[in-house]
């Protein structure tokens, strides 16, 4: 069972502000999802290997070859918060 505290914690981890009403609403929704997974959980899966990737592909690599980087202006183009070629963000608490 997911409690109100769990929902608040998840909200904090995702840095999303959730009000009292939403907390209750999400708690109910998440519990119904969890309940559904509870049904799946009843299946016998002891001999089934977990599927993490649908494609059975291993070993995808690239060679150690240098490619062109983005110019600094392009990197900083979408922010107003810049200083001396760096991104500037508020103090982190």
């Amino acid at each position: 069972m997911i409690t109100k505290e769990d929902v608040e914690h998840i909200g904090w981890l995702a840095r999303i502000e959730i009000n009292e009403q939403e907390t209750v609403e999400y708690m109910e929704k998440l519990n119904s999802v969890l309940e559904y997974f509870g049904q799946i959980d009843e299946l016998q899966t002891e001999d089934v290997t977990p599927t993490y990737h649908v494609a059975e592909i291993y070993n995808v690599f690239r060679e150690d070859m240098v490619e062109e980087c983005l110019p600094q202006e392009t990197v900083l183009a979408n922010t107003e918060n810049k200083q001396d070629g760096a991104f500037r963000v508020p103090k982190i608490g």
Partner: protein, 495 residues
């Protein structure tokens, strides 16, 4: 005798090492050569964490991790894969770090160090691959920061995080471990320890077999030793006053040499690891034989060979193999046919001692020239050539220069800006050892001119002998061998 560890100290280390010898970052083709570059000039959509980008793993990074695993005598996993470690912090803009979790590429290794009581085995719990975050620069101090500047040039660099067992029993052992570990990585040619930020260490320490405290992000080997010395003293004091050690993370203030408590996080760490869906798992154990063939001779093997092949002492072999470039330089000198024992004394004792005295760190060797940079200011650099060392060792072995003069030559080369051979320096400074008859003449003159001192010496004042030797050295402008001069005077006066 076995070391008793009276304070019940246990130290474990977590070491982050950048695979900075690779040409490109871990998951994109951005160049790793960013150390002197302007901020945010070595980035692309992948390492900036822009939405919709796909990381593709650098094959050489995996090979390097396997190399490290084999050198640490660890096990390489049959199947290994990446996870996302989720957290919000602007050093990684995509909201998670790609790392390894329950299937690290390397587990169960070991490193043998020179411990408190001889050889001591430090267990390696695991070593895994992960990406480096970007660099944050606080405007003002960390405590009174007004804002933070972010440079993503470092973001996405390949890291190997190695976790040891808490097997070290003193700060000295922790430092020895780090020296050895760094040395092994440099032998493997996967890592250049002289680059800024190449190695970062977290240390866990407990006393009286008690609760451990973690000290985060220490940047130098000396720093680790100092942080541990301070932290052990602090913990012992807390216990002596009847207090309790609490499980916490502390920060080491390099300037003040103290550790301070970092604010305890209100929420427990909750990284919600899950498999990285953008990266496929790896099965690479079939690479092992080929990689094994490329492994170089490692420090311990080289040390044993040096002792056998060159007949040098364990101590000399240890210092000469403590840096791959120094070992190669020494072998370069020996290959020119000089006496290996004499060469070992000059390379390990004098040369290395003079480098340490000047805070110079060996940074390159190309088969002929060994280069160094100042440990604190990489702008200061200098070099020393194999032929110069060969010439100097030969001149010394043939008795043409005194040891004092040979040291002077090494110092002149290390402090000099012009290229000069030892012979030129000896010539210019008049350092050639004086001919024996010249010394004999100087001795005779000295005795004739200093009757009072001679009388004093014959009367039992040993100090007067030093004065007379000094006079001979003065007459020969320092080229006489002091020991020979002393013997000649004594022989002349006392028969």
């Amino acid at each position: 005798m076995a070391y008793e560890n009276p304070d019940g100290i246990r130290i474990g280390l977590e070491i982050h090492v950048q695979l900075n010898k690779l040409k490109t970052k871990m998951f994109c083709g951005c160049s790793t050569d960013y150390h002197n570059a302007a901020p945010n000039t070595h980035t692309c959509p992948v390492c900036l964490g822009l939405p919709g980008t796909l990381p593709v793993l650098n094959k050489k990074a995996v090979e390097a991790a396997i190399k490290v695993g084999l050198a640490l005598e660890g096990e390489i996993a049959e199947e290994t894969q990446f996870h996302r470690k989720n957290y919000f912090y602007p050093d990684l803009p995509k909201g998670f770090q790609i790392t390894q979790y329950d299937f690290p590429i390397v587990s169960k290794g070991k490193v043998v160090i020179e411990g408190e009581d001889g050889e001591h085995v430090v267990g390696i719990t695991r070593a895994h691959m992960e990406e480096d975050p970007g660099k944050l620069v606080h405007i003002g101090s960390i405590e009174k920061s007004k804002g933070v500047l972010i440079d993503y040039n470092r973001s996405g660099m390949s890291l190997i995080e190695t976790v040891t067992e808490p097997d070290m029993r003193s700060p000295k052992e922790a430092r020895r471990f780090l020296d050895k570990f760094r040395n092994i990585l440099e032998y493997l040619d996967v890592f250049d320890g002289n680059l800024e930020g190449a190695m970062r260490v977290d240390a866990n320490v407990s006393v009286h077999w008690g609760t451990r405290v973690e000290i985060k992000n220490i940047s130098s080997h000396k720093g680790v030793e100092r942080a541990l010395l301070y932290e052990i003293m602090r913990q012992k004091n807390v216990i002596r006053r009847g207090g309790k050690i609490v499980l916490e993370t502390r920060h080491f203030d390099e300037g003040r040499g103290v550790t301070t408590s970092m604010r305890t996080k209100e929420e427990a760490e909750d990284y919600r690891y899950f498999r990285e869906p953008d990266l496929m798992p790896m099965r690479v154990t079939d690479w092992i034989p080929a990689i094994k063939d490329t492994l170089p001779e490692l420090p311990d093997a080289k040390r044993t060979r040096f002792m056998e092949q060159y007949g040098i002492t364990d101590m000399h072999a240890r210092s000469l193999t403590s840096k791959i470039m120094l070992a190669d330089f020494y072998e370069g000198v020996c290959a020119k046919g000089v006496d290996p024992k004499t060469a070992a004394t000059w390379a390990a004792d004098v040369f290395l001692g003079e480098l340490n005295y000047r805070d110079l760190a060996i940074s390159s060797y190309d088969g002929r020239t060994i280069g160094f940079i100042h440990a604190k200011d990489p702008e200061i650099e200098n070099s020393f050539k194999v032929p110069d060392m060969v010439e100097l060792v030969t001149l010394f072995a043939e008795g043409k220069v005194s040891d004092r003069a040979a040291v002077e030559v090494i110092r002149t080369i290390l402090d000099g800006t012009e290229e000069k051979t030892p012979s030129q320096i000896i010539e210019e400074k008049g350092l050639f050892k004086a001919e024996d008859d010249l010394v004999t003449k100087a001795v005779a003159e000295t005795i004739a001119e200093n009757a009072a001192a001679v009388q004093d010496y014959l009367g039992g004042a040993e100090k007067s002998l030093n004065f007379l030797v000094g006079q001979v050295m003065k007459k020969t402008k320092g080229t006489a061998d002091a020991k020979t001069a002393r013997e000649l005077i004594v022989k002349e006066l006392k028969g």
